[in-house]
Point group: C3
Chain length 404, copies 3
């Protein structure tokens, strides 16, 4: 990572320029990669609960292809697709009361990969307990399916989240997988890190989302903020203060919580003076694709859908490339950094402090995990397994106030 700034060649000619490299240790997500092993130590949202049905679904998470289904008895299963018998995919399997039956020779597996039946074998398989279909543990919470894809003996507790507990009457907690806050398609086609870093980059907001493309958020966001950054026990927190023309001070606290939870207060300022109640998980599909799973508390299940940005009445997907050039947003800025950005070519400055801090934190945690330690923010005690959210939008009377 180039933190200093320097010229390339005396003329600056592109002829003398040698492109740099990606920070592979932070960007890559496969099994055995530094960050891939960090991501696998936490429960990850992998699907909406409503999409786990008796029709098997192919899902790809962290570079692994898996099959998701819900048994007749309602249990959700997440299995390696290639049947351990002869390799046909369980995507073509038939879901039954207790498990899924491979279409080819009928072997049945439960949600933990146990083989329940081998119909062509004597007595339905005298040795069927000697095979096991590779599987991952899953749980359902807040309308999402969460999977634990890490080492079995280190499995933590799936935490609850404070802002989604004790929900007032009339409100609900809803889940979304449409790519909310990505500014593009439901599945983004570039490395997750380019999006993840963006969360701790408050200065792109008044440029990209206001001065450059016209106000994509509320006008208050167009003001250049004063920002302070700090490490939390398991992430990076930034506090942005904007002095508005009317004398008010708008404070905004944003957090990234390791390994991939974004706590970004509503950019439309729908709620102010309350903790952030819209949380997003940046879940890598593989090294070059990711999804955003969002949980939000609202009285209207369609809230996010209705907040979808429009450009002269048209949706993002309906714009031409030249129109995207005229009003770029997060998707254009981040995807154009490359399938995987060449991070060592960055020239990070004072206003990139959040990015610098996050990269350092990630590198440190990846090293810890590689050395056998636990990463921060895991819960092993049911009693305190609650994520506490401190981000939010606030009106403050003075810059020395701190509502957190």
């Amino acid at each position: 990572m180039t933190l200093s700034i320097e010229n390339q060649g005396s003329s600056g000619s592109a002829y003398d320029f040698v492109p740099g490299q990606a920070l592979e240790n932070l960007a890559r997500v496969g099994r055995g990669t530094p960050m891939g092993e960090v991501l696998r130590r936490y429960w990850q949202p992998i699907s909406l609960s409503s999409k786990a049905t008796r029709t098997p679904q192919n899902v790809r998470v962290l570079g692994e292809d898996l099959v998701l289904f819900r048994t007749g008895k309602g249990k959700v299963g997440l299995l390696y697709p290639r049947c351990c018998h002869r390799g046909a995919s369980l995507f073509f399997g038939g879901v039954e009361e207790e498990g899924i039956r491979c279409c080819y020779h009928g072997w049945v597996f439960d949600t933990e990969g146990h083989c329940l039946e081998q119909p062509c074998e004597p007595e339905l398989g005298l040795h069927r307990d000697r095979v096991r279909q590779p599987w991952y543990p899953v749980q359902e919470l807040y309308g999402m399916v969460w999977a634990y894809m890490g080492p079995p003996d280190r499995m933590p507790i799936l935490p609850r989240i404070d802002v989604f507990e004790d929900v007032p009457a009339g409100e609900g907690v809803y889940a979304d997988d449409s790519g909310f806050s990505g500014g593009g398609p439901a599945e983004m086609d570039f490395n997750w890190l380019s999006h993840w870093e963006n969360v701790v980059d408050p200065f792109h907001v008044p440029i990209l989302h206001a001065r450059f493309s016209g106000n994509q958020f509320v006008p208050e966001m167009a003001v250049l903020p004063e920002v302070s950054y700090s490490y939390t026990p398991s992430g990076v927190r930034q506090e942005s203060q904007r002095r508005l023309k009317d004398g008010r001070i708008f404070q905004r606290i944003t957090e990234v919580v390791m390994p991939n939870l974004r706590v970004v207060p509503d950019v439309m300022m729908r709620t102010v003076d309350a903790p952030c109640d819209t949380l997003g998980w940046v879940v890598p599909v593989d090294d070059e694709n990711f999804k955003i799973f969002t949980l939000f508390r609202a009285d209207d299940p369609n809230l996010l859908k209705n907040m979808k940005a429009t450009y002269s009445g048209r949706l993002w997907a309906e714009l031409s490339e030249e129109e995207h050039q005229r009003t770029p947003g997060d998707y254009e800025a981040q995807s154009s950094q490359g399938k995987i950005s060449l991070h060592t070519d960055d020239h990070l400055t004072t206003t990139d402090q959040g990015v610098t801090m996050l990269r350092r934190l990630m590198a440190r945690i990846a090293k810890q995990v590689a050395e056998g330690q636990d990463p921060p923010g895991l819960f092993f005690d049911e009693a305190d397994a609650v994520i506490k959210v401190s981000g939010g939008n606030y009106w403050v009377s003075d810059t020395t106030d701190d509502p957190s």
Copy 2:
């Protein structure tokens, strides 16, 4: 090849699972690969005769790109496409009485690659006999073009086939390249071995084609068979007996004949108590694609076309992916094994004995050929150059009967 069965890790977690490998020596078909060299020792069907015309066709066989054409005099040619002069493809060549003329500078080649004319050179090429366009020998038989793509000094005789000789009046021998018995498109997009092994796998029939997807064949086929397997001089033979509810015994003899001839009696039981008169050659296009060339004897040239499976009146290609999930057939089961299956992850059991025997036979023959021996089933004496088919459907009165 994992013939034993064992667990992966004590928890069976996919986290601990390490994917296996393909049996490259059996699956790959390129020149110089073990099985590629076996396949090249036999005449292979590469096209219907009707498709060899004065309009050159690109054909891809065993990973090699070739150009097929028929001269004005009716001879079929199969040449390497890149003109030996300056490399333009003979696909754009013009077919003449004696050969094909390259479009670029007009060199003419006959069906054995001899250069007949170099029109820009003095006297049409004083040294034209010093170049030769790479070529393969072809013959036509039973409405198909057969090519010999192996070492020239080992070329065997193209054999006739007993069931297609002495055809009764009113019947004919017809050829088909529409992917009959593949259950999918005309050209299958996965490794040929996944299909080839399926031929000696009688137990998928009552599961995949009956219990799972509803009867795709006749109801008799839904009964779980008793099967015995044996090696023939050049293949594997299986005899399946099904005891029907009405007391009758239905016997079915299926064969694979090296290297890629499938002898599979009619699954619709159109003919019983007669040798199999529908033969298929599983011809690799390359490592990840194959075609099936079928010869059949019938009174109706459209027999196979009319047997095309329909699902509620619609053809396979017209179904949605979710409909394919509900009624998977051979294509779904086999293609989902992967572009090339990871064979070492298979857990072969008692009912996979045919597959086990076939893999062993193929490995043994590939080794023999690599050591310089001839593979079994080649004919070098015109007098006995006839393939004898013993497969078929039979009614038997007692299990000790053997109609072969």
Copy 3:
């Protein structure tokens, strides 16, 4: 390069044929490759002037991705796309009076890559002069944008061209990037060398363009020529004489000027007895794609557009593949040589002398440049920086005449 001709194996079987290789040193165009470094020593046309506007354009030249734009003040810029700050592409940048502003955090760069503003930083960037966006010098001439992509300290003068100076009243010099003379799409999808060599190959004309496909040019071109070849100070020149039935002698002088300028007199013989006034630059997009930029002098700006070949009234792009087989032209012949032709498989004969000479010249110059010398044909003195064109169509009374 195989200049001798020999058989492959005694039978000529394709089984014994081992494909050859590309002349990588001549074909490849990337930075650091022998020919890539030669091409970079000359100014290259990379766009029509009319396409350099305030809307940034992605251009790909010599395997490099760049962004082209024109500032509000009218200066053309050609920059490396990845913003040196955080990597968003300048394709989504906003063009201003003095330069281009990155959409992400608003850094502004001028056409020489100097950073003019970092809007989020204190005082718009106290250290902004310590970064520089990689850039290439560009100039506009004859309606085209020319770039110099070579070592800065070796930059030559962009030469003028004699036939485009002192243009008579009523005529103009016009630029075209529609792929004129390529016989196919605007951007060709194969290695540039296959097209470039074709320019010094006079014998394909009477075959490909006349005898084979019907007269694609004027009937005079169908006559087999007598050709003599010679080296010029920086290229290869060929003189073709055709003795017509009416006794007249038609002489045609064609040149290639290093590294990629084609001087091919009008194949429709619109102008005779005058120097060639239609020049084409064969500009590699990358190793497997190229464009042709054409300059022509005419009284009609639409001259080339109106010369577009038609086949029974339809354009090339409207023909089926089988129709292309019946009337192949330059695109079919050259593209079918392969993405990059396997040049060592060529069997070059007496009528390929131009190709042989060109390959030798290119290899010699590539070696010179690799050793630190200048290639031929560069101009470093403004006074004589004029390319003089000697090619053209001429009527001559006797073969000993030489109009050059």
